[in-house]
């Protein structure tokens, strides 16, 4: 099908050219420098370690030899590391550590490898990027911004209005055929589990459990299917796969894999980010600083695009400015400045359980050890969890966070906007969604309880293990009891199965807590809390949130993480569903069932299902982005808050025009 599309203006062609050149150069930067190990470039301050490493490197002929790429240099260094480790171990076994030196000050631990490796690779790099970091920053990120803006700014011309033309004609945005999408999903699942076993050093327990749960959920969804398994009803399957989208997805996936698990190959980017990092925090750039910069740039530049696209809709404009602001100020600048002021790195808008490290011992120690500011951060973080989330969600729905404040949401609403139509709207996808996202929430809760339990003292303080368990049990029982009470009164519309699963999980958690209360066992939930949290970080924090969350934008839409994975979204969603004033009202019988709202709902909500019945939309997953209301050609949808009629709001079917009282219905 040949379709005459919007012709690009000259300025846009130039912008596109600049952007692609910058992207190419940015990618090439990783291979421009070469690497040469030198005593000064060995970024290790511990003298025992340094000497042993140098010796091993010299032994292996690594010293003063030039390597063309990090892919040659890093393994060589890792070999040297292992030799040094063995040497030190030998010496330690024979003579012990020198007087007054601790075991791990002397020996090399496995966990030191990554840090030493990363820094040494970075410092051993020599070449054009190392010599001109600022220039390369400008040529890559700088030009990328310029090119992006040149491409975007002409979009402000012309009349404001819905700008969805050609989305399903574009090779970037039309999505993947079902077969391609399934192949991606399967490869991601098995790739992650397989790599996970390696990541945990050959431990099969958690990867095995995760695989089992994945199979269990698949079984639950496919058991008693509404649809025959081969039926691709309303899949997100276009006639032909978007090949530019496919390449984009692969690039993003590759990016995240390198970022999380082998950052030693990204040192070129860290080097070119050093000047900016020094200016902000006074420290050199880590891979996280690079990521933060790219993230912020993406949100800002694509935020401008979002504003251009939806400039007829003030809700969208304000909301977009809000996510741009929170990303720039709260996620990027303030934490860096805090570091410069010798305060803990802290993102004031990142809330547990999305911010799953909040209750980790090192974070708690860091906050508690940082005086009044640290304590304030601790209190603030807890207040967000127990006050802000329930209260603000009660008044405004989860949108106050998910599509106004959150960083993940911010990226999804800006960089991800071109892909929002790719979310799967089938009932089956919804069933997967409910199991998976609530599963992640339960996992996050158990993981955090374990971490906190082992962190807290057994006796001395008032906030000890016992009281912690009591508090948790009380909170769980209270929340579930209240929900059950309202359900009994018919105030919340949820299936019997849903309530049963909820009660089951609550009883399980309370039971386990009670067991610990009485047994005083060390291993919470019979698990090693270190391993649990390591696996959580790997599987949920990195693989799900990053690799799949963003890498799958062109494959399954821009909210894969928010919809299927984010435990905070699950928590916010429970509040939104059970006790909130937020709903999307529908305008009587005006819906023409066209399907624009469902198509463009990034959360895969079949909005039309409700709209055509004249039923208010109350869904735990709705992030209140307001796009459904913006693209509806008949003005049917409105995001609203009100305490009135909130318990009946989903039952009212305004599009039924024959009242039941008028006709005697058979029972």
């Amino acid at each position: 099908m040949s379709v005459k599309r919007n012709p690009l203006t000259l300025l846009q062609w130039i912008g596109l050219g600049i952007f692609l050149t910058a992207l190419l150069l940015f990618t090439l930067v990783l291979g421009l420098d070469d690497y040469r190990l030198h005593p000064d470039s060995l970024a290790v301050s511990n003298t025992y370690h340094k000497e042993a490493l140098l010796e091993a490197a010299r032994d292996q002929g690594m010293l003063n030899r030039t390597y063309a790429s990090s892919f040659a240099f890093a393994p060589a260094f890792q070999r040297a590391f292992r030799q040094a480790q063995a040497d030190l171990q030998n010496r330690f076994d024979q003579q012990g550590a020198p007087e007054g030196v601790g075991e791990w000050e002397y020996k090399l631990g496995d966990w030191m490898e990554q840090e030493y490796l990363l820094h040494t690779v970075k410092h051993s790099s020599r070449g054009p990027v190392r010599s001109n970091p600022l220039l390369f920053w400008l040529l890559t990120i700088g030009l990328g911004i310029l090119g992006g803006l040149l491409y975007i700014l002409p979009k402000f011309r012309g009349l404001p209005g819905i700008k969805n033309n050609h989305i399903y004609h574009s090779h970037m945005t039309r999505g993947m055929k079902l077969s391609v999408r399934s192949a991606f999903l399967a490869a991601a699942l098995f790739g992650i589990i397989g790599y996970g076993i390696f990541y945990l050093g050959g431990n099969y327990f958690w990867p095995g459990v995760s695989l089992l749960i994945a199979l269990l959920i698949t079984g639950l969804v496919l058991y008693k299917p509404k649809t025959s398994p081969g039926d691709e009803s309303r899949s997100a399957s276009p006639h032909a796969t978007a090949w530019i989208g496919l390449i984009t997805g692969l690039y993003l996936i590759g990016f995240y894999v390198l970022l999380y698990w082998t950052p030693q190959h990204l040192t070129g980017w860290m080097i070119l980010s050093d000047p900016l990092s020094h200016t902000l925090s006074g420290k050199e750039a880590s891979q996280w600083f690079v990521y933060g910069t790219l993230y912020t740039v993406a949100v800002l530049v694509m935020g401008v695009r979002m504003i251009a696209k939806y400039r007829h809709n003030r809700y969208q404009i304000i909301r977009t400015i809000s996510v741009m602001f929170f990303q720039l100020a709260f996620a990027f600048l303030i934490p860096e400045i805090l570091v410069r002021l010798n305060q803990p790195y802290f993102d004031f808008k990142n809330i547990w359980p999305l911010n799953y490290t909040f209750f980790f011992d090192w974070n708690l120690n860091n906050l508690i050890g940082s005086g009044a500011t640290g304590l304030f951060m601790l209190v603030w973080g807890i207040a967000l969890i127990v006050l802000a989330v329930p209260l603000l969600t009660y008044f405004y729905g989860k949108r106050w966070y998910c599509s106004w404040v959150c960083g993940c949401g911010g990226l999804a609403e800006t960089l991800g906007d071109p892909y929002r139509q790719l979310s799967d709207k089938s009932l089956r996808a919804w069933q997967y969604e409910r199991w998976i996202i609530h599963g992640v929430l339960v996992f996050a809760v158990i993981m955090t309880m374990g971490v906190l339990y082992s962190y807290l003292p057994a006796g001395e303080l008032w906030f000890n293990q016992r009281n912690f368990l009591m508090l948790v049990m009380l909170m769980l029982a209270g929340a579930m009891g209240y929900t059950y009470y309202r359900w009994k009164r018919g105030a919340v519309d949820i299936s019997r199965l849903g309530i049963r699963v909820g009660i089951g999980v609550t009883v399980l958690l309370i039971g386990i807590s009670a067991y610990h209360l009485f047994s005083g066992s060390e291993k919470f939930f019979f698990l090693n809390s270190n391993e649990t949290r390591q696996w959580y970080g790997f599987l949920i924090g990195s693989a799900f949130a990053g690799v799949i969350g963003t890498g799958f934008y062109p494959i399954m839409g821009n909210r894969v993480w928010c919809r299927f994975g984010c435990p905070l979204a699950a928590y916010l969603g429970l509040v939104q569903r059970f006790k909130s004033r937020f709903r999307i009202t529908t305008n009587g019988g005006q819906c023409i069932s066209c399907g624009n709202c469902s198509t463009y709902c990034e959360m895969g909500i079949d909005v039309r299902w409700y709209a055509q019945r004249g039923q208010d939309v109350v869904r735990s997953s709705c992030v209140g982005c307001g796009i459904c209301a913006a693209v509806c050609p008949r003005g049917v949808l409105r995001l609203e808050n009100s305490s009135l009629d909130m318990d009946e709001r989903t039952k009212h079917l305004r599009a039924l025009h024959i009242p039941e009282s008028k006709t005697a219905l058979p029972n």
């Binding site: 005459k4 509404k226 009803s233 069932s593 299902w609 050609p633 409105r638 058979p666």
Partner: protein, 449 residues
Amino acid sequence: MHVAIIGNGIAGITAARFIRKLSDHDITVISAETDHFFSRTALMYIYMGHMRYEDTKPYEDWFWPKNRIELKRAWIERVDVEGKTLYSSQGEAIPYDKLIIACGSAPNRFGWPGQDLRRVQGLYSYQDLQGMEAASGELERAVIVGGGLIGVEMAEMFHTRHIPVTFLVRESSYWDMVLPPEESQMVNRHIREHGIDLRLRTELDEILDDGTGSAGGVRTKAGEEIDCGFVGLTAGVHPAIDFLKDTSIEMQKGILVDDYLQTNVPDVYAAGDCAQLRNPKPGRRPIEAVWYTGRMAGETVAYNACGHPTAYDPGIWFNSAKFFDIEYQVYGDVQARAPEHHASLYWEHPEGRRSIRLVFDRNAGHILGFNLMGVRYRQEVCEQWIREKTPLREVIQNLGLANFDPEFYDEYEPEVVALYNTQTGDNLQLRQKRGLRAALKFLNHKQLN
């Protein structure tokens, strides 16, 4: 009992859904157009690349077997009402106990010379859409004949493909049989603003052959020739009832039905675009070819077919559309040429793409209707005011109750009030701003009474 339904559009499908709710009858829905129900109103969005055909299906494919609604893809050629049997073009005989005809419309063709050439078509069916798609490739200009809602949709469709459009409208202003003059002119301006060559007071005389049996141009009644490779006929629709000609079902323009949507033949009903009411409600037309009435009629006909006699009541008229970027909503009685006792308060935004019109009874002073361009109003509130013959003064003071625009949008009700005050010398104040709470209170309170 077996209920056969001809037509899987909104009327036929709504009927099927409600029959399933009300009964255990066997249901067969027959259509020649597509396997599944899709939203005809969204055809343009498929062409423009906003959606795929899949996305226009309001129900997933499993919905039909799950609800035991059998779908049959066939063209019904002949109906034997005495023998209660349908005959498809493949020769299949489908017996029924009750028949609901919801066969919809077809585009009008007024006997123009050349109207049967290739690349001359309307936009009604999925096949029409495919025809447009096929013709679009090398197209250098399209001519659209007939200034209604589908014409402007077609213009927008071609416009997104950068195919120049000449839009011939017989009247002196776009859709001026329905829109009051100010709104009609607003749409004229907006169509032109998008670069469409809108020709008012221009009538089609003949469609010219390009020598290969396809459209090559048109000649207008004024004698002007316009080269084009496609002619869109969008001068309205008529019930698609040719296949019923030889039956004893009484028909005029459409299938004649009584208040219970029953035809003169027992056990045969009609609903949707194809039905013509014998006794339309005062102020309403006998055939209303819109989505909403199709849905209401489908619901009503289901009750009747299931033995719960229910008179068809389309409620207070409403409709909506979109002209490029301008949304349009209408509630109640808004006429293009206002009768003597109609008066209206018309406010227009200076930028000329939004307006609010309140129509009221000049003598009795109560509200009759709302006409809105670029502003969204709440149907239930407007309906309630109109039904209860609320005095204009009261409506004006509470106008915010009706506002349904998204959050943060400017509210124009104060300007409407101010306009009223200048026009009447009155000094009314706006008592209600936009908000769900107040609207619900208003609606619930009224419902309790």
